[in-house]
Amino acid sequence: MNKKKSFLDVISENTFIHIILSILLGFLIGALFLLVMGLSVGEAYGRLVSSVTSVKGFSYVIVYSVPYIVAGLSVAFSFKTGVFNIGAEGQFVVGAMAACVVSILLPDLPKPVLIPLCFLVAAAAGALWGSIVAFLKIKWGINEVLSMIMFNWIAFYLSNFIAGIPAIHSEGSAEATKNISANASMLFSKDFIKANGLAPTANWGILVALVIMLVIWFIIEKTTLGYNLKAVGVNKFAAEYGGISVNRSIMTALAISGAMAGLAGSLQLMGMGNRISVFASQEGFGFAGIVVALMGCSNPFGVFVAGIFYGALIYGGSKLNLVGAPTQLINVIVGTVVFFIAISVIFKNLKNIRRRQRANAAASAARKEAESK
């Protein structure tokens, strides 16, 4: 059986091709919407491309993509371990708020101390938020999806509450926290930004995201812990039989995933955010993380690329207004992409369907032959 691979074989087996096809289809559907609305497809997509390909535009894309990458890594990690971390949203929010509070209360710590400290408390807060859900599941059997939805909202109102405390709240009229201490900011120096023509919020976050990606990859692929967690994700009964504690695995997986989401929150704050506003509705970084994890096939390297792609869409999309196209076009495109990724299993089934058709044809031919005799 040393047959050369057919075109169909290649398409049906290569996940990367599925994703590229899905993205193309997403833009195609987006173009249809633009046509129906009577807008120029070339102009809109041209704007999308031109706004992210300049040096300044691309630096904006990188800045935007940092929280998406890290939130995506958080969700991807949970997918690998068989848990669906729909609670990344809340973990992101508590992480950002924890880092914000520390940087406002301890503004005079030197930079090399304050920045790691902020990361640490953000990761701890996110891990705590994830662990509570795991604890509720293990101790009382509370469905984790339900409690994550609840804890997303509890985190949301908790953040708004903390932003309103006098010691934290902005001295000005803004409905937000004070600005974080300059010692907690990860922005590049003003001169560097000016000299290179970068976005004013250009910062070191992307390097941190890169490190986090490598750490996640290492945990999943190279450690016993990662092996155990994956085993539970694939088949928890088999894993239990093999001597792995499923309960402890769920706890560990959600704690690590939560820590990542919390870190994503602190990166957003210490990069482009600079303070946290009182919000009327959830910001959706955690939900974006789900999309990024899906587009990146839950593979750390894939998630990194998908996060930058998502950042480009969001930043480029915000410029669509300039050519009269609605920003919401991006949601339609991304939604379509995710939809096609979801149904890309049909590519895998194509081969089986063809085989079945051939078998059916052969069977009916045989039947005809038998009848004619």
Binding site: W140, L146, M150, V291, Q328, V332, T336, V345
Partner: protein
């Protein structure tokens, strides 16, 4: 005493008002989840219904046509989800996430075309859903005002209770209901008995979209009279939570939605009296849900085949 009765009336009023859209969506979620298809796209389907309901009511002048069209818009997205998950065997969570992006994305784009804004034009009094028993009670007496608060609610509140009873009846007293529950527990066994599992699930997911669409339309056609991008923020997820809370039973979902609505009502009254921070009060419904789960409800039995695509053997 008078104050207490008034407050109680307002709490009950708010309970019913908050509960109505949630329960419609939760009943929809029951159909989908019990037949074995995870539907986290409820949120997107509600958004579609919320937008379509008020737009159709605005252009036709009839709240009833609008309300129905809201349901149909939800059903359309339900069919999209069903096509992906039931017919094509897609991952149900991923497809649902896609619906949650497509729903708001598409309707807000249409809003931009129709109204040159992301908001629709507010409905007038004849275009929104009517109130039942308005003006029946004498609001000058304490008792009359209490009755007015509780019973002079929008007609959607009465409809949702009727819908809950119908769904309960369908689930537990009809052949269709027995089959739909069986599809979520053991689809292979159903198939051997000649039940078309795929058609059953397709129908149920479409129905779930229809009910979620009606729920969305309740949001924008009663107290609020226009669609805005923030009209549906999380109600779909709360509805799903209510279904899990209610152990995947319509009567359980009703209790979950009532509890949630009651806590929200409590928040309105306590917030009005001042003293306690509004943000902390807003947490009450979510915290209470978790606590009630711990103390009274505990483990929820998820339908055995929930989330698993059914692939027909040939």
């Amino acid at each position: 005493m008078t104050d207490f009765v008034n407050s109680l009336g307002i709490i009950l009023y708010a309970t019913l008002a908050y509960m109505t859209p949630l329960l419609f969506a939760a009943l929809g979620s029951c159909f989908s989840e019990v037949s074995g298809v995870v539907n986290i796209g409820i949120e997107g389907m509600m958004t579609a219904g919320a937008f379509t309901g008020t737009v159709v009511a605005y252009f036709t002048g009839s709240p009833w046509i609008g309300f129905l069209c809201g349901g149909l818009a939800g059903a359309l997205f339900g069919m999209l989800h069903a096509t992906a998950t039931v017919r094509l065997g897609a991952d149900q969570t991923i497809a649902g996430t896609a619906i949650n992006m497509l729903g708001p994305g598409i309707v807000i784009m249409i809003a931009r075309v129709l109204f040159n804004s992301t908001d629709t034009i507010p409905l007038n009094a004849t275009q929104k859903l009517p109130k039942l028993f308005a003006g029946v009670f004498d609001t000058n007496t304490v008792f009359g005002r209490f009755m007015d608060n509780v019973f002079a609610n929008y007609v959607s509140t009465y409809l949702v209770f009727a819908a809950a009873i119908i769904v309960w009846f369908v689930f537990y007293k009809t052949k269709f209901g027995l089959r739909l529950r069986a599809c979520g527990e053991h689809p292979q066994a159903c198939e051997t008995l000649g039940i078309n599992v795929l058609r059953m699930r397709f129908t149920c997911v479409t129905l779930s979209g229809f009910l979620a669409g009606l729920g969305g339309a309740c949001v924008t056609m009663t107290i609020s009279t226009q669609f805005r991008p923030i009209s549906i923020v999380g109600q779909g997820f709360i509805a799903i939570a209510a279904v899990i809370f209610g152990k995947f039973r319509p009567q359980g979902a009703l209790i979950g939605c009532l509890l949630f609505g009651f806590c929200s009502g409590l928040k309105v009254v306590l917030g009005g009296s001042g003293g306690v921070d509004m943000q902390l009060l807003s947490m009450i419904p979510y915290v209470v849900t978790v606590i009630v789960l711990i103390i009274f409800v505990g483990k929820s039995h998820v339908p055995s085949a929930n989330g698993k695509p059914f692939i027909k053997a040939r």
